[in-house]
């Protein structure tokens, strides 16, 4: 594989690999290390990439293994034991409509989430991975994926509950769609 092809591979998949690592470690620095190691390993074993296969799935498989090794080499983080709990108000009619929040404000709130939760949110809604795919690559049950997504949204709603009206998207306040 030539350098431009590898550069293209990086461009296309570095973010999702980094998110997987972030979701597994909760540590941005460790995630960057894992992402780098993943691609180095990918380059080393590029001949194992099925030409007809999905390079993202292949990379995520490597990322999963690298993350696993990384986790073994460190003490298990206490945070992995703790799933932060907030009231799940998703189903309530008065729950904050996240789509009605100004994009910048919502992005800021997402950025303030615990990294593990933010990353899972991104894997689902930006990378469009299925619950099962996320569960597989993170090595957790599907139900835990759903739980983390619910929790992330609940935290967002909780954080955005007392928004200043100016933070609400004007179109959304008028009933329109943000996007």
């Amino acid at each position: 594989m030539a350098r431009p092809e590898i550069a293209a591979l990086l461009e296309a998949h570095a973010a999702v690999v980094h998110r997987v690592a972030l979701a597994r470690t909760g540590d941005a620095e460790a995630a960057a290390e894992i992402a780098q190691e993943t691609f180095l390993e990918a380059v080393r074993s590029i001949d194992r990439l099925d030409p007809d296969g999905d390079p993202r799935a292949w990379l995520l498989g490597i990322a999963r293994n690298v993350s696993r090794r990384h986790a073994r080499s460190r003490a298990r983080r206490a945070a992995t034991f703790t799933e932060l709990q907030v009231d799940d108000v998703t189903d309530r009619d008065d729950a904050v409509d996240l789509s009605a929040v100004a994009a910048e404000r919502l992005a800021a709130a997402v950025g303030a989430l615990p990294p593990e939760l933010g990353a899972v949110l991104a894997l689902k809604y930006d990378d469009a991975l299925s619950y099962d795919a996320i569960a597989d690559v993170l090595g957790i049950p599907r139900s835990t994926v759903q739980g983390r997504l619910r929790r992330a949204k609940a935290i967002l709603r909780s954080e955005l509950r007392d928004l200043d009206p100016t933070d609400l998207d004007e179109d959304a306040r008028d009933g329109g769609d943000l996007r």
């Binding site: 080393r44 992005a107 299925s130």
Partner: protein, 783 residues
């Protein structure tokens, strides 16, 4: 499941999975059906969809990879490659110094861009000494004046043609042990000889086994690609190409995979490694100038003891050199597996556990030690038993200064020596003597053994690609049995001797791994002879028999019986184990204290600053920290308890969490009762005041009510976290860990738990006892 439309209540929790595209088709259809007739639910689903879109946009911005991540990784790849590359002048070396400046880029493979030449070096220290293909364009036809390096019937003259022309190996020994001399590229070619194809016996290029190549992958079960005349002709063409080109290389301990990458790049052909050698970590040390590629490959093959076969006009297959013509894939696997085991033994990758002979084990002594130095005590043991006791320098230093007091009659020597463990000495029976070493030395030995076992496991992974690997202090053979059952679909029976063998085993079991190899590994690792036999009538049943042979099982039984005797030694051992248990209990108690303190702290914070409490609640991780501490302490204690506690570790945490759930749940009824009473009184005041309540008592009651609600929320929150933690502990991955750790009699239970969870069971199913708790049950059911 019916096809009826969903109700609003049913649809409500499905809104997000619906928006996430995660509903099964039938459920989605039913949701759509309901949505069309229900404006509220339609709005709910639309909103969920909008939220998903908004979150997609928000996460794209907020959870982006660090700026420049891709660039920095690319830099790292470049740096690794450039750092490993040799100086440019060396890389551009050419056969004739006069040609150096004139060597045109066109002489290189079009696929071998300079960057590619360096990328294959990533992380492996590959140094390319430069290459020059002497035959011009790689696809150019063979010049008529050249001959292929391998010719049918060519004399096996090591001095002239080396391995590439040696007779084909037929007895497992690779033929290409001697480096072949460079072939004269100007020598005449005998196309007729080279084209004789599969029937040609000899030389590393000749196909000898089943194989097919498709998209660069080798299928050992595929058809014989060289059977077709067109394939044979193509194969000869590749041989001619390789014989017509030269390269200069410098591979200083370079991974074979990188060498193959290099060859692929400069030839444009496919050099394919068999699975067996792809993961074997083979490395090449070679420096050549202007060597014909064909011979260069022969050299590499000879150095590594592998062989090469030209399969098609584009593919060269590299595999182990021990293959026998006509051998099946299974035969090859057996050979490879034996090779690995032999290598493991040669390199002392395993330390056989030496069983203590019965006559040594049964030797009894009378001791009356009162503040005796250990050295003097050991001298007494030596005198009484006639056995050899050897102390290392470190152990001697301890023995000279430490004192021991013990009175025992007819005590077993191992038990007496066990007491010395408290003084920092570890006794091992080895080489016909009791060897006393310090704890530190024992730890060093343990680490060395683990390292060796890890290397054995790595070697084992070479065998079959995927290897189930488990290591236990105890029950190793039993674990092997279960692993075989799981991975091979076999029913494994153990006789008592095998059952009682407790030496550690790094289990190697994988699809395709021959049982005799497993048995060999078992014998090597346990140090005792365990046979694996297949049942005469049922091929899917195997028997592990032997183990502690020669009365070994009886010896084990006697040992266990003796261990339960009320002797002073046994009492001393029991006291030591009790001390461990006390530490365990202290650890658990401390965790409880931490939890209580944390809860109180959070509660007080909440009263003063709700937002702060919320923030802290998110950040505290108190349960995780407490449990991590418990786990850590259990681990420490486990080491002291010699593995007995180890297998109960995870289970202990599970039980702890379950008990905690119950304890916390029991706080709810009194809270509910207080709330009920407060509400009654408050309502009475409201009624009496005509809906305008006021006054000190009313405020007092409202404050008390608020407190109870806070307390209820706190308990509720903790219960939810505990529930989550319990589920996490019982999640399949964790249960797998439990399976790996659990003693044999817990494995079935752990397996049932795993299956229950995989089947969608909830906590109430897993721990039926929770059903008895009237307050916890509804909470868990709705959680």
């Amino acid at each position: 499941m019916t096809n009826a439309a969903l109700s609003c209540e049913e649809l409500r929790p499905l809104a997000e999975p619906f928006a996430d595209g995660e509903l099964a088709d039938d459920l989605r259809a039913r949701a759509e059906a309901h949505r069309s007739g229900c404006p509220d639910c339609d709005a709910r689903l639309a909103r969920a969809g909008r939220e998903a879109s908004a979150l997609g946009a928000a996460t794209a911005v907020a959870v982006a990879a660090p700026a420049g991540l891709a660039a920095s990784i690319l830099d790292a790849i470049d740096a690794a490659a450039v750092g490993a590359a040799v100086a440019p002048d060396e890389r551009r070396a050419s056969p004739d110094p006069d040609e150096e400046a004139a060597a045109p880029p066109a002489t290189r493979s079009p696929n071998a861009a300079p960057w590619v030449a360096t990328i294959v070096a990533v992380g492996a220290g590959l140094v390319l000494g430069g290459f020059l293909l002497g035959g011009g364009d790689e696809r150019a036809p063979r010049p008529s004046g050249l001959r292929p390096a391998v010719r049918e019937g060519a004399p096996a003259d090591p001095g002239a043609a080396g391995a590439s022309e040696a007779p084909r190996p037929t007895s497992g020994a690779p033929a290409a042990l001697d480096p072949p001399a460079p072939v004269d590229p100007a020598a005449p070619v005998d196309a007729g000889d080279a084209g004789s194809g599969a029937a040609t016996p000899g030389g590393p290029w000749l196909p000898t086994g089943p194989g097919a190549v498709e998209a660069g992958r080798f299928d050992p079960n595929g058809p014989y690609p060289w059977a077709e005349p067109a394939v044979i002709a193509g194969r000869d063409e590749l041989i001619r190409r390789l014989a017509s080109r030269q390269a200069s290389v410098n591979f200083p301990d370079t991974p074979l995979a990188d060498v193959v990458g290099f060859l692929n790049d400069i030839t444009g052909d496919q050099f394919v490694l068999s699975e067996a050698i792809a993961g074997a970590g083979l490395r090449v040390s070679l420096r050549t100038r202007d060597m014909v590629l064909h011979d260069l490959i022969g050299l590499i093959a000879a150095q590594l003891g592998i062989r090469s076969e030209v399969l098609t006009d584009r593919v060269v297959f590299l595999e182990r050199g021990e293959s026998i013509p006509g051998a099946t894939a299974k035969d090859t696997a057996i050979l490879e597996a034996r090779s690995v085991i032999e290598r493991a033994i040669d390199r002392q990758l395993v330390i056989p556990i030496e069983a203590i002979p019965d006559h040594v084990f049964q030797r009894r002594v009378d001791v009356h030690w009162s503040e005796e130095t250990v050295t003097a005590a050991i001298d007494q043991l030596r005198d009484q038993t006639g056995l050899s006791f050897v102390l290392t320098t470190a152990a001697r230093q301890i023995a000279d200064t430490a004192h021991v007091s013990l009175t025992a009659t007819q005590a077993l020597v191992p038990d007496v020596l066990d007491v010395l463990a408290d003084l920092g000495l570890v006794a091992r029976w080895r080489d016909g003597a009791w060897r006393l070493i310090s704890h530190e030395e024992a730890e060093t030995e343990r680490r060395a053994r683990e390292k060796k076992q890890a290397e054995l496991a790595r070697l084992a992974s070479v065998l079959a690609g995927t290897v189930v690997e488990t290591e236990l202090r105890r029950g190793g053979v039993r674990v092997l049995a279960r692993t075989l059952e799981r991975t091979r679909g076999l029913r494994v029976l153990l006789d008592e001797g095998a059952w009682r063998t407790r030496a550690p085993v790094t289990v190697m079991a994988a699809e395709g791994l021959p049982l005799d190899v497993v048995a060999a590994a078992l014998r090597v690792q346990t140090g005792v002879d365990i046979a694996i036999e297949t049942d005469a009538e049922r091929r899917d049943v195997i028997v592990l028999a032997g183990g502690l042979t020669g009365g070994g099982s009886d010896e084990q039984a006697r040992h266990e019986a003796r261990a339960s005797e009320p002797t002073p030694i046994n009492d001393a051992i029991r006291r030591r184990r009790d001390r461990v248990l006390v530490k365990l209990r202290a650890a658990v108690a401390e965790v409880d204290a931490i939890l209580e303190a944390q809860l109180d702290g959070e509660s007080n914070a909440y009263l003063h600053d709700e937002r702060r409490w919320n923030e802290r609640r998110y950040d505290a991780n108190f349960l995780g920290q407490a449990l991590a501490m418990l786990r850590s302490r259990l681990t420490s204690a486990r080491e002291i308890a010699e593995g007995r506690v180890e297998v109960e570790d995870t289970r202990a945490v599970v039980v702890q969490v379950a008990e905690r759930i119950r304890e916390v749940g029991m706080r709810l009824p009194p809270i509910a009762e207080r709330q009920r009473r407060l509400n009654v009184e408050i309502e009475a005041i409201i009624e009496a005041s005509g809906g305008q309540p006021d006054g000190e008592r009313y405020e007092e009651l409202m404050t008390a009510l608020r407190d109870t609600k806070l307390e209820e929320a706190r308990v509720d929150s903790e219960l939810r976290m505990l529930g989550e933690r319990a589920r996490e502990l019982c999640a399949p991955s964790t249960v797998e860990e439990v399976l790996a750790e659990a003693p044999i009699d817990h494995r079935a239970e752990a397996r049932r738990t795993l299956e229950a969870i995989e089947g969608g069971a909830d906590l109430l199913t897993i721990w039926p006892g929770l059903r008895d708790d009237p307050y916890l049950r509804p909470l868990l059911e709705t959680d």
